[in-house]
Symmetry: D3
């Protein structure tokens, strides 16, 4: 029943986010499984499949955008994890978030950094 975009999207989601893919599907199952399906098909089956930009650059661009938007902290947590999973260095993630102070202001940058701190502590990259 599910199509090729879904299948390759799910695989890409696992490559980037590990277990999180299944969690997204599960958390939406009772209310809108289709929103999970679209997330997988469009974000991971269409966009993250595209050539022309490597996965590390894609994840850094996403960290930049979610930090700047400032109201997407659950997704920022997921994508900081994703960035680390595909090989971004912690310093690169920190650099992108610091840089957002220029474009979106210090509150956005600080709030993004506190999300990164949470992730880095969970993954024992830094101590509290």
């Amino acid at each position: 029943m599910y199509n090729q975009r879904y299948e390759s999207g799910l695989e890409k989601l696992k490559e980037i986010d590990g277990e999180v893919g299944q969690k997204v599907i599960d958390s939406l199952a009772s209310i809108s499984p289709d929103l999970a399906k679209y997330t997988i098909e469009f974000a991971f089956g269409d966009i993250y499949q595209r050539p022309g930009l490597d996965l590390k650059s894609r994840e850094l661009a996403t960290v930049a955008a979610l930090t700047a938007l400032g109201n997407c902290q659950p997704q920022l947590n997921v994508h900081i994890n994703g960035a680390l999973n595909v090989g971004c260095k912690p310093e690169e993630i920190v650099e992108v978030i610091v840089q957002m102070a220029v474009y979106a202001g210090f509150p956005a940058s600080l709030n993004g950094m506190f999300v990164a701190k949470e992730v880095f502590v969970e993954r024992a990259i830094i101590k509290v």
Copy 2:
């Protein structure tokens, strides 16, 4: 009178944006030369000087953020030019802007792409 942060910021601004540095200074001269000074000192003298992330990745992160924020089109124009100047390929810029459809919605992505189109036409990368 100007300090080292200003001097190295101005140099970095020229490296990234060519003539635009002087234009920013000039356009603010009659109202707030200090805002030009801070832009140069903080953005280009502090942030863009930092090791830990190469200039191409910095410019792609900026293109991502400005596209997502959606109300910074003059700055997006400047930074798409900057991204090209420091060696980003046109396809990489297009990829970042397309990807923003996922995180900030299609209107933000479309409006960012029309700014890129303007820049690419000016630089004869594409024809109208």
Copy 3:
């Protein structure tokens, strides 16, 4: 002392939100009763009284806007409840929130859906 706009606004607020009207008034009593008063007078005494658009369409428009804005989760909770109270079907609310993925991006849509899930679980429309 209170005027006709306030009286009819309070009545409309009760029609839409049940007990929430009194809670808003109470929660602001110690700091800014006037902000409660303006909310009731302007939002519910002026706007929601207007002919030309039925209450269900008004509530769906509000759910759309609050989901897209992305930083108004307490108000989104109130208005998802309000939408149900005035006769919107759960599926209609879900549809509006899914649609916001197109205009405001997937994070806004996902975060809005998790607010809807909370409300739907509280009201036993779905199970966790």
Copy 4:
């Protein structure tokens, strides 16, 4: 080469927006035909095909969101036209935009109304 989602999306886009569909495709042809393709496939081939909410309510929800976001005026123009094309009354569109003053502030509402005025004048619904 294009799939069923694209074909039905294009048809839906024509139903809603008339000639605008082809204009979007054309305007992106030289820089990112894929962004046009995704807009058609995802927005119009997936979302606007869904049962559970009628087209008129979908368009009013979109007008609400684009007015509230405040930085999507070209898309707001398109969707005010779309709303009229699928049978929304001018008054209903005006009502949604007025209501946004409550949720996104008067500037967003006023700027949205000026876009509506432009569309209504073009379509001779009102005189300047």
Copy 5:
């Protein structure tokens, strides 16, 4: 037919914005005279009438907010004029806009400053 809030709002609007009051009313006359009415009643008849904060501080707060929001340039133009009309010094307005670089980023601050420059040139406070 119009009430006391409208009358005192209109007077306050004239005190702050001079001729602009009538222009707002006129520009909305053909599409939504009620939105003009609410702007006058609520913004100028309720809020700007309140004791507890002087008009100069109110206008500086508005300039801060509109600069930070970044997508309200017509309203920012009006309120920079209003701030000058009620006695704010040009330097105070410039200071507020510069300060927004900290909270909303440099693009918002720069774009706000270019609106101020326009107003200051029109009023011959500065030369181009």
Copy 6:
């Protein structure tokens, strides 16, 4: 090693925010001490040192902007405290936040007011 901007910024931060300055430094120590350093140098060493606008007006402008942006609640808490510390009256802060209903909508104003309520209760200005 730290420069004069840092030293005077730290002093200003203590004047405005009391103990919070050291907390910001500490909370970022393990992940990005430079972001703390830039906050102190640029925000408090450059901007808040400037003549041309008194500290009370600066803090009210910041409260306005952070309320309007709507996704900076930790920073809004800090600056409502800061505003009180530099001599703003509670009523003035409340007035600025109420006024934001006009420019950023009622949800932003309400959410800002609830942050103020938290601060006012902590400081025993009001009772719960």
